[in-house]
């Protein structure tokens, strides 16, 4: 029998320490998997909306793509959806001109999903460069 070595007042021998270490390792892996694998539904609103007292208006038709995916066309007052995996993503918005045939400019936003805040994003707010672009959930 190996002599047990005390850790934090509890006597543990080498085998139990290894087992405990493995359990903790797998718990960490599980948490990492959970965070990187969890799917979220992003709802992208191209409507007039007021967040924290500031109102944003849509610029017109836009093309939105997430993480270099297929661009989705969003008209004014339109809502699009994208399913993503994990928390960190890149949103690319291409703003079209009045005749809707030329890209005026594009906005890229790196963001991290905060489950507490929700996944309802306001396109106009992002274009305007606001620091608050998540539409709060209705109570």
């Amino acid at each position: 029998m190996e002599t047990p070595d005390p850790i934090g007042g509890i006597l543990l021998n080498k085998r139990m320490t290894v087992n405990l270490g493995l359990v903790i390792l797998f718990a960490i892996i599980a948490i990492l998997l959970y965070n990187s694998g969890k799917g979220y539904n992003l709802l992208l609103d191209n409507q007039t909306v007021t967040i924290n007292g500031v109102t944003f208006e849509p610029t017109g038709t836009v093309f939105v793509s997430v993480d270099d995916g297929e661009p989705v066309e969003l008209w004014v007052d339109d809502r699009g959806m994208a399913t993503v995996k994990g928390k960190k993503h890149v949103l690319k918005i291409e703003v079209l001109d009045e005749d809707e045939n030329m890209v005026l400019y594009s906005v890229e936003k790196r963001f991290s999903i905060d489950p507490e805040k929700g996944t309802l994003f306001s396109i106009p707010a992002i274009i305007a460069g606001s620091s608050e672009w998540v539409i709060p959930k209705e109570r």
Binding site: I29, A30, L33, Y34, G37, K38, G39
Partner: protein
């Protein structure tokens, strides 16, 4: 001394000891042209089924090594895996992360179930196979109790798409779209119109290496000793009961992973039926591959999966073109699946009985 390999005795011995696979090859050789399936279709199908089912069949090897016979209790591992999958579907974890997470969280459950199964089997020495068979049915009832009544009430399920309309209990079909083919497509490869799930085969290869390595560890040697003769092993100082339980635990955990791999390929889970067939088909496949209740090798696994599933795929169409009813082909393959297990069990029991008779007779001094 003659160096000929193909002597009459050798050929006879080869034919008898490999009777089952040979019969299957002959049957398939007859049925394949009748069924009018194209070669490419069959090759693709067999590749898919190899990648999907091999892991489950491989999980049966270790209990056979330890003398526990065919582990019908692998169904318990399959159930543990399914519970893991239900949970990650509820949490909406997608892709390979979802699959691995399901494996991690269902492992403790599989270990507990395996330990329970092993302990019960230790109380039924000599009757392990019937007991694990009935235990599978019993746990199916417990599984239904938990999943049909507990999930949603005792275990919180947030995704309403998973629950029945009454508010608790998981639906009959669980959609695993999120992790569908996540392992298969992890490393994609396409040769001549046939897609090959490289990652899955890598996992299977790794597992085969594990089995080979395990056989040479002290625990593996102990298991083989216990499998040969329990009393001799006990007098050699091996903890027979504990070794037997460990073999079942390993088998159950591997069956758990095997079921998850199986389901990620299919993409949908029959919440209450998927695991029932898992045990039966895996055991039938192993026996078709030439394994017996007392001895099973890795080649048995792959040969068995291919032959068994070949017959499985080809029978309905062969039945349709031969007799006019596809239904007949389906019943035929059910008959063959059960019949092959009956034959294999009978051969094994007959051999064991003959050995006992011989031993008894030698004790009596040829009375």
């Amino acid at each position: 001394m003659s160096r000929k390999i193909f002597t009459r005795d050798n050929v006879q011995h080869f034919l008898i000891s490999n009777a089952v696979p040979i019969i299957f090859i002959l049957l398939s050789a007859f049925a394949i042209p009748v069924s009018k399936f194209s070669g490419q279709y069959l090759v693709q199908e067999m590749l898919v089924r190899l990648s999907r089912d091999s892991f489950l069949v491989l999980s049966l090897l270790i209990p056979i090594m330890a003398g526990m016979g065919l582990n019908f209790g692998m169904v318990l591992g399959a159930m543990a895996g399914e519970i893991g999958l239900i949970l990650i579907t509820d949490w909406n974890i997608m892709g390979i992360q979802g699959m691995v997470l399901a494996m991690i969280i269902s492992t403790p459950l599989a270990v507990i179930l395996g330990w329970m199964c092993g302990s019960i089997l230790n109380r039924a020495k000599g009757r392990e196979m019937v007991t694990s068979f009935i235990l599978g049915f019993f746990m199916n009832g417990v599984y239904q109790l938990v999943v049909l009544y507990g999930f949603g009430k005792v275990v919180p399920i947030r995704n309403p798409q998973l629950l029945l309309s009454r508010g608790f209990g998981i639906r009959n079909v669980t959609n695993l779209e999120g992790i569908r083919k996540c392992l298969d497509n992890f490393i994609p490869l396409n040769i001549g119109g046939v897609s090959i799930p490289v990652a899955t085969f890598l996992v299977i290869a790794l597992f085969c290496l594990f089995v080979l390595w395990f056989k040479n560890t002290k625990l593996g040697q102990d298991m083989r000793a216990v499998g040969q003769d329990m009393d001799v092993a006990r007098s050699a100082g091996i903890e027979v009961e504990k070794t037997r339980v460990i073999s079942i635990v390993i088998s159950t955990v591997l069956a758990c992973y095997g079921q998850i791999i199986f389901l990620q390929n299919i993409g949908t889970m029959n919440t209450y039926n998927s695991h029932e067939q898992a045990g039966m088909f895996a055991i039938a496949a192993l026996l078709v591959g030439g394994a017996s209740v007392a001895k099973a090798t890795i080649p048995n696994v792959f040969v068995g999966v291919v032959l068994f599933h070949l017959m499985f795929v080809v029978s309905p169409m062969a039945g349709k073109y031969l007799i006019g009813q596809a239904q007949l082909g389906e019943y035929f393959r059910v008959f063959v699946s059960y019949g092959i297990i009956a034959i294999a069990l009978a051969l094994h029991a007959w051999k064991r009985y003959k050995d006992k008779e011989r031993a008894r007779r030698s004790l009596r001094g040829n009375a």
